[in-house]
Structure formats: structure tokens, C-alpha cells
């Protein structure tokens, strides 16, 4: 492996966070590469300085202590609400989409019933057994043609009216 590859893994090598194979490969490389050894020492030194500085840093706790503040906040209910797995919330989370789905279904059924998807009047009349008149367009404006369909699809009664179908 080349130095530029090794240098990428040095931060993990210094913290002992590599798998054994990579660890061995880097150790072999370090034995013969002084430049990478210096890099590693710098990394280790940095790690040592920073961790020691943070570990030894003492922060003074307020004179009144954290406990008093906690008691005050708990008693005055000044708690920031966080997302929690509340059983009631999860129940509503399940129920609300179901209710919305049900409402949408009812609306679809209602609209379908109200719109033209109903059975046509002719079919309804045929179902009852009555002949149904159907006015057809004819090029002559004085002639009206009415076709009566019956239950038997083979039989159709056609009436021709001139000027006035009522006459």
C-alpha cells in the first residue's frame, strides 16, 4: 500500500479502531516509512493533548446546585415536551388514518350514486316490462321517429310522427 492510502487510515489506527487485517498492514508499512511514523506520532500527540485537556477540565456547578433548579422546574411544570411513545398518541395515530379512509370511501360511494352512473331509465323500464319510447334525430324537422324497445331485443316498435308526435 502507498503512503497516501495509509495516511487515510492513520487516524483510526491511532485510536485502535481498525480491523486486524488493516491494522497489520499499516503496522508493516509503518516499520519502513518514517514519514507515516511522524504523522502517526502527531495524531497520537493531538489525541493525548485534547483528551487530557477535556478530561481535566473542571466546571464549577452553580452555588444553588442543579438539584434545586430541577425541583423548581419539576414543581412549576416548565418541562419542554419531547416526542415520546405515548400509548394514547399511538392509538390516535392508528385511528385517524382509518377514519379518513372511511370518510373518503363514503364520499366516493355517495358521489357515484348521485352522478350518471345510475341505471338509465330505458333499462329500468325494460326491467319493468314496459315499452320505452326513444326519440331519434331525423334530418326532416317535421318528422319525429319514436322507437319502442321491448323486453325481447329482437322486437322493436318504430312509430313515425309528422309535425306533432302527440297527433
Amino acid at each position: 500500500m502507498k503512503c497516501r492510502h495509509i495516511k487515510k487510515y492513520l487516524p483510526l489506527y491511532s485510536g485502535d479502531d481498525l480491523n486486524p487485517v488493516m491494522f497489520w498492514l499499516i503496522r508493516q508499512h509503518l516499520k519502513k516509512c518514517p514519514s507515516c511514523r511522524i504523522d502517526l506520532k502527531e495524531l497520537q500527540q493531538t489525541q493525548q493533548i485534547t483528551t487530557e485537556a477535556i478530561r481535566s477540565h473542571n466546571i464549577q456547578i452553580n452555588n444553588h446546585g442543579i438539584w434545586n433548579e430541577i425541583v423548581y422546574r419539576l414543581s412549576h411544570n416548565t418541562i419542554i415536551k419531547t416526542k415520546s411513545k405515548n400509548k394514547n398518541i399511538s392509538f390516535w395515530h392508528k385511528l385517524v388514518p382509518g377514519l379518513i379512509g372511511l370518510v373518503i370511501l363514503v364520499i366516493i360511494v355517495f358521489v357515484t350514486e348521485q352522478s350518471g352512473i345510475k341505471k338509465p331509465a330505458v333499462d329500468q323500464a325494460m326491467h319493468n316490462g314496459d315499452p320505452v319510447p326513444v326519440v331519434e334525430d331525423v334530418t326532416d324537422p317535421h318528422v319525429t321517429v319514436m322507437t319502442f324497445k321491448t323486453n325481447d331485443p329482437k322486437i322493436t316498435i318504430v312509430w313515425f310522427f309528422k309535425d306533432n308526435p302527440q297527433s
Partner: protein, 203 residues
């Protein structure tokens, strides 16, 4: 004054009769004295981690209070099969992130913001240990929040990569990536602003 158990384990966790093992079940049942003892036991540690994450001690105090209030609320839900310490750190990280988001500070400080004059102490003899600590905290601000959290948990607090990933709700690979960038960046910054601290490293 906060009472501190004299006997501690490797990580500084109190060991003895009043440990988390005995105090938590009592606090879960509503024993305020037990909860107070938990607060006294962990407040310094929580404050220190919060300070590293939010950047200043005043905000760290607010976050620490929030952490213990959340702890009080969520303690009845704590599962004894889990490690209390990891669970507490998870609350600290979440509370700090919420605070930073609320303050719109969930970002890094650009490098230009770190004034050159702050780092112009070329004489290492005059550079006090306390000053270095303060400056190290400023350097930490140059890292992203995730890099900083990974660095604090892994290198300073001594959690393993797996535990850090668990606390940060991430994968070990992602944590390694954050760690790698954080360590490399800190080295670069230290070399730039405090070359004297890294002097003398020769083959």
C-alpha cells in the same frame, strides 16, 4: 455540596451500596432522595459532556437540568437489562442536540471565525494549562456536531465504537468515519494554531 462516592470503577462510576443498581429501582418507585443521589452522583459527568457538546458552561448547565428532568420522566420506563450509563449518555446527546437545534447552532464554526489573535501565543512556556483547555474547546467547535460527539464519546469518555454507535443511533462504520475526520481535523488545527505543542516529534 454534592456527595460523591469515594469508591469508583475504571470509568469513575460509583461503586458501593449507593450505586445505580440500588438507587434506580428506588427512584423508579418515586423515591426523591434516591433520585437526588443519582443527580449528585452524575451531575459533574453530565455537565462535562454537555459542556463539550454545546460549547460553553452556561448552556451546559441548562442542558444538564434538561437531562435530569428527562431522566426523571423516563426513569420508570428504564429497562434493567440495558446499561444505565449508556442510556444516560443517550439522553445527554439527545438533550444537547435538541438544545443546539433550538438555538440554531447545529453546525460548525467556520475556521475563519477562529481568530488568529487567540492563537498567537508562540511561547509554550507562557501557555498555561488552563488556557490550552479553553482553546481545545474552541478547536472542538470547528468539528461538526456528529464528529464532535463521536470524538467525545470514543476518545474522551472511553466508550467502544459499538457503544458509541448505539448511543448515537448510528452504525459502527459511520462512527469510524466521523472519528477519522475528527482526529485528522483536530491534528490539522492543532498543527496550524499550536505548532509548539506538536514540536519535537522527530524520527
Amino acid at each position: 455540596m454534592p456527595s460523591k462516592s469515594p469508591i469508583t470503577d475504571k470509568r469513575g462510576n460509583p461503586v458501593g451500596l449507593n450505586t445505580e443498581m440500588t438507587l434506580i429501582p428506588r427512584a423508579q418507585k418515586g423515591d426523591k432522595q434516591a433520585f437526588k443521589q443519582i443527580v449528585n452522583m452524575y451531575q459533574h459527568r453530565v455537565l462535562k459532556v454537555a459542556h463539550s457538546l454545546v460549547g460553553n458552561s452556561h448552556d451546559a448547565h441548562d442542558v444538564t437540568q434538561e437531562v435530569f428532568i428527562r431522566l426523571y420522566r423516563f426513569l420508570p420506563r428504564f429497562n434493567h437489562n440495558k446499561r444505565f450509563f449508556t442510556w444516560l449518555y443517550r439522553i445527554i446527546v439527545n438533550a444537547s442536540y435538541d438544545f443546539l437545534k433550538k438555538e440554531n447552532r447545529f453546525r460548525t464554526v467556520p475556521l475563519d471565525h477562529i481568530s488568529e489573535t487567540n492563537y498567537s501565543m508562540n511561547n509554550p512556556q507562557t501557555m498555561h494549562q488552563k488556557e490550552i483547555k479553553g482553546k481545545i474547546y474552541e478547536l472542538l467547535e470547528a468539528l461538526t456536531t456528529l464528529q464532535k460527539t463521536a470524538f467525545i464519546l470514543r476518545d474522551v469518555e472511553g466508550f467502544s465504537c459499538k457503544e458509541t454507535a448505539k448511543i448515537m443511533k448510528s452504525s459502527s462504520g459511520t462512527i469510524r468515519s466521523h472519528l477519522s475526520y475528527a482526529r485528522a481535523r483536530l491534528r490539522k488545527l492543532l498543527k496550524k494554531y499550536y505548532p509548539e505543542l506538536l514540536e519535537g516529534i522527530v524520527e
